[in-house]
Subunit: 345 residues, 4 copies
Amino acid sequence: MVRFECDYLEGAPLPVLEAIAKANLEQNPGYGFDSHSDHARDLIRQACQAPEAGVYFLVGGTQANLTVIASCLKNYQGVIAPQTSHIFNHETGAIEATGHKILSVETADGKLTAQQVRDVCQAYWKETHALFFVQPGMVYISQTTEVGTMYSRAEIAAIHDVCKEYGMKLFVDGARLGYALAAPDSDMTLADLPQICDVFTVGGTKQGALFGEAVVIMDEDLSKEFPYHIKQRGGLLAKGWLLGVQYEALFTDDLYMKSARHAADLAVKVYKGLKEAGYSFLYEHQTNQQLPIVTEEQLKTISQSYSVDHFADLPDGRIAIRICTSWATKEKDVDALLAFMKTLK
Amino acid sequence: MVRFECDYLEGAPLPVLEAIAKANLEQNPGYGFDSHSDHARDLIRQACQAPEAGVYFLVGGTQANLTVIASCLKNYQGVIAPQTSHIFNHETGAIEATGHKILSVETADGKLTAQQVRDVCQAYWKETHALFFVQPGMVYISQTTEVGTMYSRAEIAAIHDVCKEYGMKLFVDGARLGYALAAPDSDMTLADLPQICDVFTVGGTKQGALFGEAVVIMDEDLSKEFPYHIKQRGGLLAKGWLLGVQYEALFTDDLYMKSARHAADLAVKVYKGLKEAGYSFLYEHQTNQQLPIVTEEQLKTISQSYSVDHFADLPDGRIAIRICTSWATKEKDVDALLAFMKTLK
Amino acid sequence: MVRFECDYLEGAPLPVLEAIAKANLEQNPGYGFDSHSDHARDLIRQACQAPEAGVYFLVGGTQANLTVIASCLKNYQGVIAPQTSHIFNHETGAIEATGHKILSVETADGKLTAQQVRDVCQAYWKETHALFFVQPGMVYISQTTEVGTMYSRAEIAAIHDVCKEYGMKLFVDGARLGYALAAPDSDMTLADLPQICDVFTVGGTKQGALFGEAVVIMDEDLSKEFPYHIKQRGGLLAKGWLLGVQYEALFTDDLYMKSARHAADLAVKVYKGLKEAGYSFLYEHQTNQQLPIVTEEQLKTISQSYSVDHFADLPDGRIAIRICTSWATKEKDVDALLAFMKTLK
Amino acid sequence: MVRFECDYLEGAPLPVLEAIAKANLEQNPGYGFDSHSDHARDLIRQACQAPEAGVYFLVGGTQANLTVIASCLKNYQGVIAPQTSHIFNHETGAIEATGHKILSVETADGKLTAQQVRDVCQAYWKETHALFFVQPGMVYISQTTEVGTMYSRAEIAAIHDVCKEYGMKLFVDGARLGYALAAPDSDMTLADLPQICDVFTVGGTKQGALFGEAVVIMDEDLSKEFPYHIKQRGGLLAKGWLLGVQYEALFTDDLYMKSARHAADLAVKVYKGLKEAGYSFLYEHQTNQQLPIVTEEQLKTISQSYSVDHFADLPDGRIAIRICTSWATKEKDVDALLAFMKTLK
């Protein structure tokens, strides 16, 4: 059975695996104090055109999210995030377990707007006795979002402006950042990120690493303190060079963006193919998480041959499924899936 | 420069690397819900002769420690541990960050005794107003300890008896469990552990895995709840199969214990060689973390050719250094080091 | 200026003050281990007809809420509560600071329904990978609610049934419990509470004590552990007898319910008076927090002579104000306020 | 039976009680936003000669300690404190429950020395990989200490100097500050405190208030944020004016220091009387917690007529008991106790 349910089903592209194998019997100092990690940090700084940025490697996304958020907030502050956000929904209360409320905002399409952020802040700061309320201390968004939608550069920059106005940090979760940047309607590159937010991740797990999220921090104070937070939260990998060599490989010969473009191209193919076949979508976009709507009957039939994600139940009984592409997706599998799904209409 | 400062300098034995490479383009479901992880869990259960045990894979040691401890304790309880323990000293307050005090006990040699545990408990439970004190809720020990000493089966069993008496769980941190079991004076096998404690780890990171700690849980309730704790603490690896295939390889053809015996044999060689050369030790034992005492002068000379760990400063100005062997240590490097250190005496 | 903005503006009825003065120079053991506290606990158990209940005195409401909730939940569990609830809105993230998410539910009138609780639970428990979500572990409601509405006995009992079905505890915040029980349409007495929930508070601060909330616990295990939680959260009053003597006085000669009825009667008067004068209400009910709707102009005029709470802004620009009665409210002040507000229509 | 076991057995001096009674039917705004609290804050600022200090009233000591400490520390920092300190021993892990380790130091007499603080800091900051250790972020001491010993002005100032050198705040827990200042060998007044520390409490509970600790904060940023921390930790008293009027009374006509001197004078009497009678002491000093050493037999006899605290078991089987004086202690009771204890020698 061919699987499309998520974008982290396979391991890593060959150069990444080879880099690990090559470094395997080197003797590397622990905890990221090795030359591979240093080199990888430099490569990322270059790709982001942010020579002063702090770059830290963590193993996973929830870990990265909780560590970044807990290190940015004061005890009595919370993080503004969309109600569809990963941190609000899919991390077993990991943020709250660090003591912080998520100030969730209902969105039209998984994307927070600058106005919504401003509304939350205005409501808080006009309170006479604000001390009874959780102070908004930062904003969390994902690019692409958890429903596959995508922010434009201007949209993120506008949120960042509101953040600066209210003394908050903006954190962009880039677990699928490459897939966003490679999407046909993207108007950004990696080098834009340092301009329009305070912290972001350059996701590895879903985009060509066996595992790993690179946290890029613009704020110098936060950056200096971040390693302490990583260690305390259990996120410091003993053999940190494993993350170093993977990001070295991903940021050599443009492997990161090449892998992303592969997934992005196939995502467009999936979108157009299903559209043409008459499917509608929960949210319409061209990124690597496609959410076509099917009947229960259709899902059953599809599930006999393919593994897709049962994403959401619609009020009318139909189901939004998730079909993901990734760096590892084979075009022939996409073609076969599309052909198959066409027959169901 | 050859490095002896710790036992996690290299990656993994070839069969482990090959297992990852082989599974690389399979499509495995995430979060450990894959067949490799299932198989690895079975292999560990077999090796431990604990068919009912829960087995969970985490990436790192601090993560494993904080997740196990936080999941075992009630809010007002603390964990009894030696003052030399990793959780008390080397994890940036990771346990306290989950809200729990470590009830630290000064030990003669890094090993807690059953009597010491009993003393702590008796002192607590005889209090008229015990509610002002942190209730001892579990015991944490490491095998081997952070200073290389080792518990006998009877010593751990005696601690376990006290634990049962006072309604506490016993957690054995096995980051170096294999190296303990393979030591010449060991009187235990993996199958003993389930008999004499409630939770233990079968360490991978230091013993042949790229990364990974297997948490083995005897208590059924704790086991059922453990995945929730893992996820909440950011410890659930998206591509959990990476841990599965590594432990599959380690527990196939006895690779785990073979690797351990390699390190253990070389540890004995280091111990005997240094002893013969006239070195004394901070703690005398034959496990894979040897702690010979040198002068500052000697350390400088050694450091020109070898990387060793500056482990502890002695009151007389001398220094205990740490020399570790691992599955990856080369006998010729040990021979050269011993020859070299002999010349310094 | 006469104040109506809340129900905790004054100190305490004379018998409560006198009880403190009388015990002032006694030498009472600390921390609630005194005979007044014991007696007060007995009086409350009698009033609740719950001879086996645990009764604990805390100083304040937020403290009581966070201590009860943190002591009931496992790390990975959250508490279901209305979006209008005090814990969700007015406690600076105190619950999240203990590590727990509030699973908030939008309600029509500040009251959770059994069906809503069931919906949250069903959604959670049908998840294939529930471990990514916060497990509902308890339910929090307030009687009366934060908007003055009131549950019937059957409504609470129905929620309790769902709780039992899903292994959750039901916590009823009774900061204004007396005012609910004394309301004209109440169908409950104190003795009903132990039948229809697991933990509840008998509020003092707003109902005749200088300060104090009595936590009544039906669950034996929770009750036994509760003092440890109180102390750890900083909620154990050194001179616990101060709480004891106040509750002794409140539960002697029916002072608690007499005080409540005074407030309840005046609340009805406020409600009827304003209704008659042509005011509409944000939520229509007859309890001690009346929420009439006024124009900005009217609020300005009222505020020249009375202090009322600016409770909520309506979309049409009008404002819901809060007018509270309490045990200390004077009938002549209510009469004057009503007469005054009549002139504004 | 006359009680001497602690210094919080009685309520409050008459002027304090009268102040509450007088304000009882006033309508005071909640949460300390009332004129009594404002006035009390001013009186304390005057007494401390610290016109810019922030003054906040909390109900109890553990609450004050945990709120101050959690608001001063970064997540990865801990607080240096003596092993005999209240926060380390007697608060059920309340500090750790906020996520912070107490870096405990063994002391000769319950008093931390500047050198000990320096040693802890030097050990930390010389670490190559300091990120594995808990960073010392503040220092906690008590004046008088938990064993009745007392710091000189110079001793506290010296600790403060080390704190400033290492970027740490110094917190002086003044639960018994008045009793220290009134002791015969004191070389300080309230006005010294702002010069030699960053935060301190002016204890009420043990020194003439029914309850209450005034937290005085020199740091402007910390002061501004403190109310948020108080509310989040459940420490904001609804009827904050209760604290205001008590401190108003205590700081009118020098009642605070008059009460303290009464206790201090009787403490000297106890000390000299027992000394003369041939008793030795666990720690020898003249403050209000006297710790004479008695045999088990003697303790039994004493306990038939007096309530004293079984403070510590000595290795030789003897027992240090605690005899406290307070503002409420009667001289005739002290005389009788001394006469009685003389007969036991």
